[in-house]
Amino acid sequence: MNQAVSGIPIEFFLGLAGILFSIGVLGVLIRRNAVVIFMSVELILNSVNLVFVTFSKSLFSVSGEVIVFFVMAIAAAEAAVGLALVIAIFRQKKSANVDELQSLKW
């Protein structure tokens, strides 16, 4: 396994991916605005993409990059559906705050 990609050690890439992932998770947990939560989810997905391409380069295997394309396609589709939902909710509630959406409970 090649320990460096383009002269930069592989740990740097993985560390960056970890930081992005944590920011994304925290964003999903903490933020109240639905659009921001979506952005955080995108951040999580892209941190994973980063891990995929890193290992793809270091292992000289294209399969990681192929999976990234799948993830991107699915993320785009998810964003389209998600944003449509957010708009529909906003029309109903005049707000994108997820804490106001809590009628489905015990």
Binding site: L29, R32, I37, V98, L101, Q102, S103, K105, W106
Partner: protein
């Protein structure tokens, strides 16, 4: 015609299917004709096949394997029929008498509710009964055995809206279950000991099997318990008198001529087992003799015409078992046939009387019917003379053969013979009591004979044919001193005494010893004398003194009238404790233990759910947190486990 033999079994099945599935689409007359044909055609086929088989010369059975049935390792059972002298004998009786009774039913059941259903059940019964007698292995016989039990249940409870009929059906079914346990145990033991369930293989295996003898009595006893249930022997006989709640043709076909003789057939089929089981055989003889006298004495005081005939059937079956017990299988089978004729005749005659009197069964409300229903009266009289054992009617020959063979039985013979002769006396007495009260004597009918008229040809024709049969079938086998015909003995030789087992049985001393001819004449003469005495006493009491029948008796007569209180005793011994235990389980254990246990589980889960559902807050963030925490722990687990 032998190749067409499967049709004999198939046609009644088709008749059953036709009449049950097209029940509402066909006219009544047509259903009855189909049902009758589905039994008559098999009779014709059997008759033709019978002549082709040449039973007097042939010794090996003809086996027809329809298809493999159960094949598991060494356990091989085929759906196969064994056609030999014994199965021909039974098939001819079943289809022959069955046809006449079907024909009779067309007239008797006319206009009744469920006419088509009745014929469907009757055909199903014939199908099951034929499987029982034709089968080449015990498993298929058991299928037929259970099948006839089911049909018996269905037909006893034919008028199921009457609770008496429904209860009688259940009683018959439950008492037969007790016997069936014996059948299953016996089958299991036979398979364990001989490694086969086919009759031919069992018969050839046992003579060379030393390990069988210690178990022979036990196996034979199990099969006798089965026979006790089906053939209504003491102590399991109580269902048969109650079974009279069914329509009269059913009583004639199932509860007199065919099904109840299945126990006799079973012993004859497994004669090899019973030959080497002297203790059980003696037990069978004792039970048979006891049943014969026990039921005959009850019959002397009953007032329901069908109940009298029912107790008479139990008593005559006792005679057959007496013969089987002393090892004279030919005598037992002979009496089976003669009894099938005269008892079917008596039941059908009784049915004709009941029909003419518009469903009156109490003989206290009959009398003086001789001139009004002549055909019924004369044929009934023929049947009565036959059952009483007056020569040259068939009952004399078969009963005399039994008593002669019983007398020759070592040590216990004369004692059993005495019991048998007393039972024969009572038989003559109660049967002629019935005839004198119903057909002669004073007219006690409610309408004083105004609306009484003879039934149609479908009813009288079977009566006449059966009456002819009741006279002539006795001549198949006559004593040494009278014509000396031994056709039945030589007919049954290939099935009943295969060479090897004969020697074995002789060693065990279960074969009767011979007696001199003058002795035999004396025995026969005495039994005729005793029968005539019985008739004379009945004549004196019920015709000359024209004693009025009443139902309030004292002393021993009261015990007799109440059938020795057997039903009440069984009620106290078995029914009440069973009900008490059932109620205890149902009302206490089930309600307080089982119910509380399961209700408790439900309530516990519900309160737990009440706590847990608070997790469903509705906030998206909370759910995301749960997912994160869960993922966190899964990752920790995977890391610790080391992927």
């Amino acid at each position: 015609m032998l190749d067409l033999f499967p049709l004999v079994v198939l046609l009644p099945l088709l008749g059953f299917l036709h009449n049950s599935f097209l029940r509402n689409k066909i006219p009544h007359r047509f259903a009855g004709a189909i049902g009758t044909l589905a039994v008559f055609l098999p009779f014709c086929i059997t008759f033709l096949a019978f002549s082709e088989f040449r039973p007097m010369e042939r010794t090996a059975p003809h086996i027809i394997t329809l298809f493999p049935w159960i094949h598991v390792g060494d356990f091989q059972v085929d759906f196969a029929y064994q056609i030999d002298q014994l199965s021909f004998y039974m098939t001819l009786i079943i289809t022959g008498i069955g046809t006449l009774i079907h024909l009779y039913s067309m007239g008797y059941m006319k206009g009744e509710e469920g006419y088509t259903r009745f014929f469907a059940y009757l055909n199903l019964f014939i199908f099951c009964m034929l499987n029982l007698v034709l089968s080449d292995n015990l498993v298929l016989t058991f299928l037929g055995w259970e099948g006839v039990g089911l049909c018996s249940y269905l037909l006893i409870g034919f008028e199921y809206e009457k609770s008496a009929a429904a209860n009688a059906g259940m009683k018959a079914f439950i008492l037969n279950r007790i016997g069936d346990v014996g059948f299953i145990l016996g089958t299991g033991f036979l398979f364990w000991l001989t490694g086969s369930l086919r009759y031919s293989e069992i018969a050839s295996a046992i003579p060379g099997l030393n390990g069988f003898l210690p178990y022979a009595d036990l196996v034979a006893l199990f099969f006798f318990i089965a026979a006790m249930g089906k053939s209504a022997q003491v102590p399991l006989y109580v269902w048969l008198p109650d079974a009279m709640a069914g329509p009269t043709p059913v009583s004639a076909l199932i509860h007199a001529a065919t099904m109840v003789t299945a126990g006799i057939f079973l012993i004859a089929r497994l004669n090899i087992v019973f030959l080497v089981a002297p203790n059980t055989s003696l037990f069978i003889a004792c039970i048979g003799a006891f049943t014969a006298i026990f039921a005959a004495t009850i019959g002397t005081l009953q007032t329901d015409i069908k109940k009298i005939l029912a107790y008479s059937t139990v008593s005559q079956l006792g005679f057959m078992f007496l013969a089987m017990g002393v090892g004279s299988y030919v005598a037992g089978l002979f009496h089976l046939m003669t009894h099938a004729f005269f008892k079917a005749l008596l039941f059908l005659g009784a049915g004709s009387v009941i029909h003419a009197l518009h469903h009156e069964q109490n003989i206290r409300k009959m009398g003086g019917l001789f001139g009004k229903i002549k055909v019924t009266a004369i044929t009934f009289l023929v049947g009565t003379v036959a059952i009483a054992g007056i020569p040259p009617f068939s009952g004399f020959f078969s009963k005399d053969l039994i008593l002669e063979k019983v007398y020759q039985y070592p040590v216990y013979g004369p004692m059993l013979w005495t019991v048998g002769i007393i039972a024969a006396f009572f038989t003559a007495f109660y049967m002629f009591r019935l005839v004198f009260v119903v057909f002669f004597g004073q007219d006690h009918t409610e309408t004083h004979g105004k609306t009484i008229h003879e039934s149609g040809w479908t009813i009288t024709f079977p009566l006449i044919l059966l009456a002819i049969g009741a006279v002539v079938v006795g001549f198949f086998q006559t004593p040494h001193f009278f014509l000396n015909i031994h056709s039945l003995e030589s007919y049954f030789e290939p099935v009943l005494l295969p060479g090897k087992s004969y020697a074995l049985a002789h060693q065990l001393n279960t074969i009767p010893t011979e007696i001199t001819e003058s002795h035999a004449i004396g025995l026969a003469g005495f039994s005729v004398f005793i029968a005539i005495v019985g008739i004379l006493i009945a004549y004196l009491i019920y015709l000359v003194k024209s004693k009025v029948l009443h139902e309030d008796h004292t002393g021993f007569r009261k015990i007799l009238f109440h059938k020795y209180y057997i039903d009440e005793i069984y009620g106290i011994l078995f029914v009440k404790p069973y009900e008490t235990i059932s109620n205890g389980i149902g009302l206490v254990f089930d309600r307080y233990v089982i119910d509380h246990f399961f209700v408790g589980i439900g309530l516990g889960l519900r309160s737990l759910g009440g706590i847990m559902r608070r997790m469903q807050t509705g906030f998206v963030g909370d759910y995301a947190l749960y997912i994160s925490i869960g993922s966190f722990f899964i990752i920790i687990y995977l890391l610790v486990k080391g992927v």
